[in-house]
């Protein structure tokens, strides 16, 4: 028998193994719990190793999840930053539009109040070098603008058209050192000459007594010379200087903030009459 088993060893091993496996299966099938001691023995060896691997796996998974969270957070922060910038830009655009709308509305109101047909223009460039002070507007000869026309905004005089081109014009502003306009103190009707001063300031020279000129007095165009109609606000007296000879000089604060104007109105040449009622705020 043993010889036979050795001779057919291969089949004998197969037979033994199959019998052992079937016996285990049958034992479990017929009597619940039998054969579990073997399973428990093997599990005793493998369980600690399984636990260690599970811990390593959990650690690695946690690390990976943390990395993913961090990466997600970074992406989210970048997205939110971009969104904030976009929203800020949109808000700035909105504010700019609202400001433009407001300016245009007040300019339109002024336009309605004026007796003559005016030409609306947009300031497209500024020459603010100190020697000369000018603005470039987007209206020129082709639009009906004329040289030496008065340029105004809702708060007063900006200047006059000094250079006329086909589609644009350069406006010499009040504060240009070469600018001089006939002005009148509204309170006393004292007349003088309003000149630009280097550095962007404005002054009035007039031959009057001290009482005729006080800080806060409004100076408007006199209408003499026909370049500027009467009654356009030029500025307010800031301080009055001591008289030198016949003349008395005062520093004026321009009625128009010349650094921030965006839109202007160009009056036609020869506009006459008193335009003071068109500037009730002054």
């Amino acid at each position: 028998m043993l010889d036979l088993l050795v001779r057919y060893r291969k089949y004998s091993v197969l037979g033994l193994v199959v019998v052992a496996a079937v016996a285990l299966l049958t034992a479990q099938q017929t009597r619940q719990g039998d054969g579990l001691w073997l399973a428990e023995g093997i599990a005793t060896i493998t369980a600690p190793v399984q636990g260690a691997f599970a811990r390593v796996h959990r650690g690695a998974a946690s690390l990976w999840a943390g990395y993913l969270d961090w990466k997600h957070l970074r992406t989210e922060v970048a997205r939110l930053r971009a969104e904030t910038v976009a929203l800020r830009l949109r808000q700035l655009r909105q504010e700019a539009l609202e400001a433009e709308n407001q300016r245009l509305r007040t300019l339109a109101t002024l336009r309605e109040r004026l007796p003559e047909r005016t030409l609306g223009a947009e300031v497209v460039a500024r020459d603010w070098n100190g020697f000369t002070r000018g603005l470039t507007i987007d209206r020129g000869r082709a639009d009906g603008a004329e040289r030496l026309s008065a340029v105004i905004v809702t708060s007063g005089v900006v200047g006059r058209v000094a250079v006329l081109r086909r589609q644009s014009a350069i406006v010499q502003v009040l504060t240009d050192p070469a600018s001089s306009i006939g002005g009148v103190v509204l309170r006393t009707h004292a007349q003088g000459l309003v000149e630009g001063v280097a550095g962007g300031r404005l002054r009035i020279k007039l031959a009057v007594s001290e009482e005729a000129l006080q800080p806060g007095d409004l100076v408007v165009t006199s209408g003499i010379g026909e370049l500027f109609p009467k009654g356009l606000p030029l500025g307010r007296v800031l301080r009055v200087y001591s008289a030198t000879g016949l003349f008395r000089t005062a520093e004026l604060e321009p009625a128009v903030d010349l650094t921030s104007i965006e839109e202007v109105l160009v009056l036609p040449r020869g506009t006459s009459g008193d335009l003071a009622p068109a500037f009730p705020e002054s």
Binding site: R9, K10, V13, L14, V17, V18, A20, A21, V22, A23, L24, L25, Q28, Q29, G35, L36, L38, A39, E40, G41, I42, A43, T46, V49, Q50, A52, F53, H57
Partner: protein, 160 residues
């Protein structure tokens, strides 16, 4: 066959199957390392070694899996025996043979286990088990066998 290598393959295979393999599952499917090991060892060392290796590895799997003890043992023992006897009829030196055999063996092993589980009134239908477990696992095992043959461990197993 060298006994230390045999012991190492069986204990290592069992440990890997119950520790590392569950972690590397793809879509809930895990490779069956004992099948690949049994096939590779059986092809190199013959039916007797394949049968014993399959039995030992299967028994360890049964113990760890908590299912009926002897289920994997029986199916893998039969698998090892058949795979070990193949070199008598098939030229197994070409790498495609062990890889193809690992795939085929996984299918046969899965079907054999399903048949044996009917003794225990296993409820899942064969079609579902075949398409969702056995076939994906067979593909996974084919990749694993190819990788094992490309690595030094696989070459060591196939050379002895």
């Amino acid at each position: 066959m060298r006994l230390p290598l045999y012991v190492l393959a069986v204990s290592g295979g069992a440990l890997v199957q119950c520790t590392v393999v569950p972690v590397v599952g793809v879509g809930g499917i895990v490779p069956d390392v004992p099948v690949v090991l049994t096939v590779l060892l059986a092809l190199r060392y013959g039916a007797e070694a394949g049968c014993l290796t399959g039995f030992a590895l299967g028994l360890a799997q049964d113990a760890v899996a908590g299912g009926p003890l002897g289920l994997h043992a029986l199916s893998k023992a039969l698998l090892g025996f058949v795979a070990g006897d193949l070199p008598r009829w098939v030229l197994v030196t070409r790498p495609i043979v062990p890889v193809g055999l690992a795939v085929l063996a996984t299918i046969v092993d899965g079907l054999a286990r399903f048949a044996l589980l009917q003794l225990f009134h296993y409820p899942a239908p064969l079609g579902e088990i075949f398409t969702r477990v056995i076939m994906p696992q067979a593909g996974y095992n084919g990749i694993l066998a190819a990788a094992a043959l490309a690595w030094p461990v696989g070459r060591l197993l196939s050379r002895g």
